[in-house]
């Protein structure tokens, strides 16, 4: 009996000491020094050095979800004084250390259809790059997204000139907000590249049995349900051989979207039968840019 008591105490102590969630393991944010070289005129996607801005944004607290405020880092490529008249992409990056890793697609988007044709705002989520805090739930990512929307709103952007781009992990805040539409600017155009779908399917693909994600995390999300509430336009890009965000899962996400076609909303998909998770690479930069431009001006 005494032995059993000791064992039980050890187990309980273990529980108390390592009350963990999987957020920290899943998210691969890294603290780094930013490096956004503009390139030169021989560079296909070069940007003007005076149109690269690092801007700190206040990601607000959310008391209901026990989330503190944090300063997050963002990058604006373009002329901030023209946000009130430009079309602007809000780029929500994937699960890699920081914005540094996304500099090429960001500056390409800025140059799609012409040199600095579009403004691009990209944010580092909490715990990525030089952003404070940690991303611990879809709610913290939503707060970061709101910080970006608030900034653009303060500069005079309206919904008709905003295009939200969610890459892989970035599809979480992007699709969530597309369904919620609670931010300071509504989302009328959403692009998702290699999106995730639900927290449950994420874990079930890993385990193979019908386990709920709540067994290991409170990082709960259901983008299929959220996207079903989104009635505006959607562009989906995905490689069929994607082993990080499975194609068949994302297909369900795309199928759940019902655009308000009566009011001219639509959805488009670009599927690469042999493509993997690095869609832009597999599709080719030119094709990738052309697909985005087509969607942006449609």
């Amino acid at each position: 009996m005494r032995k059993i008591s000791v064992i039980l105490i050890l187990i309980f102590s273990c529980y108390l000491q390592i009350s963990c969630d999987v957020d920290a393991a899943l998210l691969q944010g890294q603290e780094v020094e930013y490096n956004f070289p503009p390139g030169d005129s021989s560079d296909q996607f070069y940007v003007d050095a005076d149109k690269i801005f690092q801007i700190d944004l206040l990601s607000q607290a959310d008391e209901e979800n026990d989330i503190d405020a944090a300063i997050i880092s963002s990058l604006y490529v373009g002329d901030t004084s023209l946000i009130s008249s430009d079309t602007v992409f809000l780029y929500l990056h994937g699960n890699s250390g920081s914005l540094n890793g996304y500099w090429d697609p960001i500056r390409q988007i800025a140059n799609i259809g012409g040199h600095h044709r579009f403004g691009v705002l990209a944010i580092d989520y909490r715990g990525f790059g030089q952003s404070e805090g940690n991303s611990t739930s879809i709610q913290t990512m939503r707060q970061d997204l709101y910080a970006a929307l608030d900034f653009l709103d303060s500069k005079g952007l309206d919904a008709s000139r905003l295009i939200v781009y969610g890459l892989s992990l970035g599809s979480l805040p992007g699709c969530q907000e597309a369904g919620d539409q609670m931010g300071s600017i509504k989302i009328e155009k959403l692009i998702i590249e290699a999106p995730q779908t639900t927290a449950d399917v994420f874990f079930q693909d890993a385990v193979g049995i019908s386990v709920p994600s709540s067994l290991v995390t409170d990082y709960n999300f259901d983008l299929v349900e959220r996207i079903s509430q989104y009635k505006n336009s959607l562009l989906w890009m995905h490689g069929v051989n994607d082993q990080i965000a499975l194609f068949e899962n994302a297909q369900a996400l795309y199928d759940a979207h019902n655009p308000d076609t009566i009011n001219g909303e639509f959805k488009q998909a670009h599927i690469l039968p042999l493509g993997g998770h690095y869609f832009r690479w597999d599709f080719g930069y030119e094709n990738w840019g052309a697909a985005i431009l087509d969607f942006a001006i449609n």
């Binding site: 393991a25 079930q204 049995i209 019908s210 709920p212 067994l215 082993q243």
Partner: protein, 215 residues
């Protein structure tokens, strides 16, 4: 700091569906055994530190009860228990192995929202008794009665695994090592990680066990 957390995460994820065999042959009548298992599936270059403790009791010469608890899951605010019976169907004779039937249940519950699952399990273990060593081959079959709850219709009712290993049975301690091929009917997907497998399917795991015998 992150790497150990990743290891624990992956252990939890894949550990949901695999354990080392608690016992491979019935205990002596009224014998108690308290043990621990360490190891798990291989993901990327890491072996997962899946940790569990278990106890077993010989009910008769032919039948033993066992139960186990995944320690690591507690840290992730969930409970995973397993319990069952191991029944000898045939004794070891010459080169003909002992054949044992394993029947049990695996239960999981989240402390977050009380979501719970129970997975019945059955398996066959064939073992040879070579003095103090006991090599064995076995197969397990997990049954997922709630496979309909799996997203996008991707669930399946049956989840097999194959294992082989050897146990050393001393006077007071039992030591074991076991290799396992987990669910060779499917491919495991963990984003940005490579689940090591045989022939590109399932997952492969390696476990070490130690148990204290109370005769």
């Amino acid at each position: 700091m992150i790497k150990p957390i990743i290891s624990m995460l992956l252990a939890i994820i894949l550990g949901c569906a695999c354990n080392a065999s608690r016992i491979v042959s019935p205990l002596e009548k009224d014998e108690w055994r308290i043990g621990a298992a360490l190891g798990g599936p291989q993901v990327s270059s890491q072996r997962l530190p899946l940790m569990s403790i278990y106890t077993a009791k010989g009910i008769t010469e032919e039948k033993s009860f066992y139960s186990g608890l995944q320690i690591l899951n507690l840290g992730f605010q969930s409970l995973q228990l397993d319990a069952g019976l191991l029944t000898r169907l045939k004794k070891h004779e010459g080169v003909s192995p002992e054949i044992n039937l394993k029947t049990g249940l695996n239960g999981m519950m989240s402390f977050r929202d009380a979501a719970a699952r129970v997975y019945p399990e059955m398996g066959i273990i064939t073992a040879w008794k070579l003095k103090k060593f006991m090599p064995y081959l076995g197969s397990d079959l997990w049954i997922d009665p709630t496979y309909g709850l799996t997203e996008f219709g991707k669930g399946s009712l049956l989840h097999p695994s194959l294992q082989t290993g050897v146990r050393y049975l001393g006077r007071y301690f039992e030591f074991g090592v076991e290799a396992k091929w987990i669910n060779p009917t499917r491919t495991f997907i963990i984003p940005q990680q490579e689940v090591r497998s045989f022939l590109g399917i399932g997952a492969r795991g390696l476990y070490f066990t130690i148990a204290y015998r109370m005769l």
